[in-house]
Amino acid sequence: MATQASRFAGRLMISPAVILLLGWMIVPLGMTLYFSLLRYNLLQPGTESYTGLTNYRYFLTDPAFFTAMRNTLALVGGVLVITVIGGTLLALLLDQPIWGQGIVRVMVIAPFFVMPTVSALVWKNMFMNPVNGLFAHAAKALGLAPFDFLAHAPLASITLIVAWQWLPFATLILLTALQSLDRDQIEAAEMDGAGPLSRFGYIVVPHLSRAVTVVILIQTIFLLSTFAEILVTTNGGPGTASTTLTYLVYAQSLLQFDVGGGAAGGIVAVVLANIVAIFLMRMIGKNLES
């Protein structure tokens, strides 16, 4: 149906986007790859030299790398568990007939729109601060000793903050999926004598599984890049107790000016993110076919 001319016009219209994204992907990624093979420190300009895989060997055997990997997995895993379980429960709740549903919905979704630096600072100072935070006040009111969240449980505290930000996203997507559920099917099951539990297990859960997968994959992509929350609350500390892979690469390259080491870490992060991305892409691709 498309004519030769319109096909040409079509290509012309797509090309700026393609060329720009190609440049955005290939140029910096190529440079990162190149830097990762160099001994290159910004504090010693002009001393760059080729060192092969030394940076990788150094980065991958650094104890901080293992801590960072563990912290990354704990952070991403923790946030995923909280948001998927909490999101499912909230979505089921909001799917019920309630008074003022619109207002409740807005209240639940709101945290998603708060910029990461604000939510990190608000939680850090106004809630988790051991002297003036609300949690400390609450502990004192109950006769308990206030707990210094960010000093003694830094990673768990950051997980909580990030989970608060992402819970709305999971809820909203699961709620959307829930609302597209075929009501007739449930009524039919009800008539056939299926109890609430088996209706949930055999109809709702399978229907939601696809949405849950999407939530997990997309959140993982974003959560792997969690940065501002760590920078603002703990700076990766104490020690490396809350340093994730993203934060480690940042610290290596922009705080220690070790461009080569940072670049190697960056490539490691890209590889890890790609493993997740492959699964996500496959799912989205399938959807595009149908």
């Binding site: 986007a17 729109f113 600072l121 940042y250 960056g266 992060a269």
Partner: protein, 276 residues
């Protein structure tokens, strides 16, 4: 899950839902309340919830001491600038892919999406060095460029899913009536595409406004948008709660309002059409 719930059950569910919703919203509410307190009331023990001397002085102080409006304006320029640039590049591309699909359209779409999966730290070092060498560090132009490219895949995808829904018959009818390509775009497609473009704009402004990796790493004092400015409040313990709250409230208020309008588009935009 019967739709005709008994009133008692409905009341119970309503109470639970409101309690949970309020708990989730509470940190935001608390920030807004604190922004109207004096610094003394802000750290009072036991905390004062509603009964304190309401004051606007924090808002005034924040503006006077730090030139708040400049950072606010930086945020506006960066988020709207990058969104408009991305739309300018993405609209023709998405239009072409939706209406003149070729053999490679799906592959191109998937490839574009894959660029979004690249973690930012993977390219932090080169972008930082390129920016340093070209004088783009700490400039709004630099951030507009980075955020345009970063969000371009999402913008193309969102527009594509919206354009896809415009029925092709309308185009054929217009062509039969002798409309040329130009007329087709201007008088037939544009009016139908405007709602989709508007939602895409909205969601992308929100994403760009809240972006906190590049804005923190590529700006210092001059071009810092609100994300970076607020981060500088990571100051000595407990002394500036009220001012921190005032700065935070002003930073999140516009987006909370925009976000309220974009609830529905959010799902679609962020799942790339995988959940509708």
């Amino acid at each position: 899950m019967a739709r005709t719930a008994s009133p008692r059950r409905k009341a119970l569910v309503t109470a639970v839902a409101w309690a949970i919703g309020f708990a989730i919203f509470f940190p935001i509410l608390w920030t807004i309340l604190t922004s109207f307190k004096s610094e003394g009331d802000a750290i009072a023990s036991p905390p004062k919830f509603l009964f304190f001397d309401w004051t606007l002085e924090n808002y005034q102080t924040v503006q006077e001491r730090s030139n708040y409006l400049r950072h606010f304006w930086n945020s506006v320029v960066i988020s709207f600038g990058s969104t408009l640039c991305a739309l300018g590049i993405a609209i023709p591309a998405a239009w072409a892919m939706a209406f003149v699909p070729g053999k490679w359209t799906k592959d191109i779409l998937m490839w574009m999406l894959s660029t979004k999966m690249m973690p930012a730290v993977g390219v932090l070092v080169p972008i930082y060095l390129i920016f340093r060498d070209t004088g783009l560090l700490d400039t709004r132009t630099g951030l507009v460029i980075v955020l345009t490219l970063m969000n371009l895949p999402i913008v193309v995808w969102m527009l594509y899913t919206y354009f896809k829904e415009i029925p092709g018959e309308i185009l054929e009818a217009a062509r039969m009536d002798g409309a040329g390509l130009r007329a087709e775009i201007l008088y037939v497609l544009t009016p139908m595409a405007i709602p989709g473009i508007a939602s895409t704009l909205l969601l992308n402004v929100i994403l760009a406004w809240n972006e906190a990796f590049w804005t923190l790493n590529l700006t210092a004092a001059k071009a810092a948008p609100l994300t970076a400015f607020i981060a500088s409040y990571s100051s000595p313990e407990g002394l500036f709660y009220a001012k921190l709250s005032a700065a935070s409230t002003m930073a999140i208020a516009p987006i909370l309002i925009l976000g309220w309008f974009s609830q529905k588009q959010l799902v679609r935009g962020l799942t790339f059409g995988a959940v509708k």
